[in-house]
Subunit: 333 residues, 2 copies
Amino acid sequence: MPEFRQNFVTKEWVIIASERAKRPDQMSTGLEPRPQPPAFREDCPFCPGHEDRTPPPVMVSEQGGQWAVRVVPNKFAALRSDERPCREQNGPFLRAGGFGIAEVVIESPHHDVTLETLPLGRVELVLRAFRSRHLAIASDPRINLVSIFRNYGPLAGTSLEHPHSQIIATPIVPPHVRDPWRHAQLHFDTTGRCAYCEMVEGELAARVRVLVETPHFVSFVPYAAKTPFETRIYPKRHHASFSWASDAEVADLAKVLRDTLQRMRLGLRNPDYNFIIRSAGSGDEDVRHLHWYLVIIPKITTPAGFEIGSGIYINTVAPEGAAEYLRGVQTDA
Amino acid sequence: MPEFRQNFVTKEWVIIASERAKRPDQMSTGLEPRPQPPAFREDCPFCPGHEDRTPPPVMVSEQGGQWAVRVVPNKFAALRSDERPCREQNGPFLRAGGFGIAEVVIESPHHDVTLETLPLGRVELVLRAFRSRHLAIASDPRINLVSIFRNYGPLAGTSLEHPHSQIIATPIVPPHVRDPWRHAQLHFDTTGRCAYCEMVEGELAARVRVLVETPHFVSFVPYAAKTPFETRIYPKRHHASFSWASDAEVADLAKVLRDTLQRMRLGLRNPDYNFIIRSAGSGDEDVRHLHWYLVIIPKITTPAGFEIGSGIYINTVAPEGAAEYLRGVQTDA
């Protein structure tokens, strides 16, 4: 029987209508079988030896005498660091200069790997680069929000094969980000508790949607998942900003993230996906009502008019079934 | 130069970064060239002679002794009219029975037409069916929101070729719908004016983004369009609910909608698209701060991690350029 479920924090509703689903291993996940990329491409700006095809790096991590992670300004950025963020109102039309900071995190010199197939230590280096850049960029007084995300595959919005993530930092905190925070704040003011912490405790107690649990993190398919196999990774320790994650947490996150992504890769036949780190805005790093997390969205279904119009997603795979299926996948983690 | 723009009503921000765009007529719009469907398919449940493959119609419009529009319950609905809308809270987990009303509007007996290629009188019949069903369904005391939408093509979420639209009515008004209304209400309480009316007046005064204007309607590419060629059709007369549209307005809307969709079909090479009628919820039909409209979203680009995470869309086609391009397309309207 179909049912509505509500996200405890954001108050968003979804419809879980799993009768319409195919078996998980029969799901279309886009372009399959995905061809294995070559280890090096002459025309790839991120492959080693082509360092002059990107702007100079803002950060480099080395290992064994070679770069392991390079963070470079995005050459094709939608925002520019030399624009001014001033706003101008003209009747009902409000604009602001396209100021922002856009960087690319090149996750490996090897063209043919991806985050979930990298060795654990390398994944940790990538996450350390995320944290380091998050900290540095958020301290720019013109920046109010730092978004870190990964687009994997064309359905997720990238055609660039070389393993990479992106950072886009904006002077603007949009309603899509602010509105859920307002709900979380009201919850805190009403109950004295972080709504995210309560949700994580609820998932840990119920245990039916949990994928991976480690000392510092838990990954689960949330109760009100919007799309099939949507998975979230929450730190157990309450804190609002990813940039305050400790070294031990970053190392542990590498493990959970790699394991969770491997389950999707092996269980769902290497789907395209987005992941996003949702973290408090600049200056809100210490607020008590927010809690950072990472959400992974495999691109398996297409939102249609109903989803776009109402924001109510129809999820054809019950989160409990999705979690059970992914728990059964063997990883090397 | 890129710039941020804000939607006057919803306070959503977009980034207009048109330097990255291709020419409009070079845009990839999915599956092209789309094969012309046959006039009749033996395996199509909506083709004439197959009326017994759908549940009995809730409404039929006839013309020339044959049905012209049939509205039938959706056989594969994500929601069921025999479920109960009761809500149950269990710790942080809130659910409600999957009650709702889901109908399909079969827009023509002919398999090979679509809304924008139908004769004008036929489009009017379809819109009359929308209005009639909207009125009837919204009067059910269990229903609080009626969504009317059209999915055209696989990128828009349908694989069914036969021309059709859908109606899904829910007991739930989700934050995605309610939050913009709250902004509109605050604007009304502050200024005494409908924010949508002000925006429409602003677009009519600026004139650079208008596509089609008729006595009752105006269609334009909005100042803060989220995606390339997003187009909206607003009634000039202030009213909150589509269900209160007059006969003259419905006839006029048929004209504007058909003309606007033809411009996309011919100018953008028959793209997949969604359209959605956004209208006040049940009981809110007369509120002074809401204003119904129709939004058309051609599926030309893929939202990626940044859009999903921040809700800030990067639009690579300036709305002014999109409008100029579509204005230049010759239609038979």
